[in-house]
Assembly symmetry: C2
Homo-oligomer: 189 residues x 2
């Protein structure tokens, strides 16, 4: 199982946002939706061995975590609105500190980065890190930020994580996921 | 200058589609919008040395070609609706066989793949092609299809193009562009 976790610093934490304004009112939810797309879609197929975890830190009820499981996922299309619609449904149900399923393969809970980092051995995608092509073995849990840098508090939580880079340019989170998966595909086939 | 051309087999050729239904009424315009995103966006920057060319073959007025020039582009945000809005504006102006600017850095003309293939020396992205990592020099014009295969007629037009693959799995067009650009970034830096 390969996991990608993306921190959405301003992503709305209730489902009362408009699908017509994902960058604005939903707090750059478009970034997270594209990460979901990159994590799962192959040509006419879904990556069943991937999980995509979104950490939502925007108003009014942060932190919340949404988990997409490729092996159970249904109803996801490649467009941003489709992922946003599943996120909206997840945010519309009450939840506590345990994951609760909102639609097939999508789960939501209260909690954020601190909880997540205790559950999997993440590496952090970082432009100053070691080149992913030079690694002896590819990690299976990857932490990314959205369009904003990690805060000082998040950086402290992640201080001990190994840093990995995907190349000489700084890419959007969803593009980074695509490049990592290409590397994993090449290592497996 | 690096060029990506993407054929949208069902993409609407007038601007009368809804931004709320890019996969449906607009003829999988969401695929083309994500290709525009992949072609241009870096973290807090735009790739000025890229052109993205969309060949639209859907009803009611095919073929049309829309050209996005990174060195002139304005008003483009990363979300699908933003690219779709610029495409809509391009399709809303009358055009002939010469490119006509619709918004800053975006051009539209009548014409399709046959015209385009005479203008640049394209290679075709194809899962059966040579591995992009094994090439001595990277091409600068890349032809892709949307979610559909090239038609027999298009395949004949493209019969002489070199075939390049980006890895062992068959990827969406926008993900393929991301992987190609990562390869180009690595070759340049």
């Amino acid at each position: 199982m390969v996991r990608f976790a993306v921190v959405g610093h301003r992503a709305r934490t209730t489902g009362d946002f408009s699908l017509n304004d994902l960058p604005g009112g939903a707090g750059r939810m478009d970034v997270l939706c594209r990460c979901v797309n990159s994590a799962f879609f192959l040509s006419h197929d879904i990556r069943r061995d991937v999980e995509c975890i979104l950490v939502l830190l925007g108003e009014p009820d942060p932190p919340k975590t949404i988990l997409f499981r490729g092996d159970e996922l249904r109803y996801l299309s490649p467009d941003e609105r489709s992922a946003a619609s599943l996120i909206k449904k997840a945010l519309n149900i009450p939840c506590g500190s345990e994951y609760r399923e909102s639609t097939k393969g999508v789960y939501v809970r209260k909690g954020g980065l601190a909880e997540l980092l205790g559950e999997h051995e993440f590496v952090q995608l970082d432009e100053g890190g070691a080149d992913v092509r030079e690694l002896e073995a590819l990690p299976d849990a990857w932490l990314l930020s959205d369009h904003m840098d990690f805060t000082a508090e998040e950086a402290e939580l992640a201080a001990d994580l190994a840093r990995i880079s995907v190349g000489p340019r700084i890419l959007h989170a969803d593009h980074t996921i695509t490049v990592v998966l290409n590397e994993i595909d090449r290592s497996e086939c």
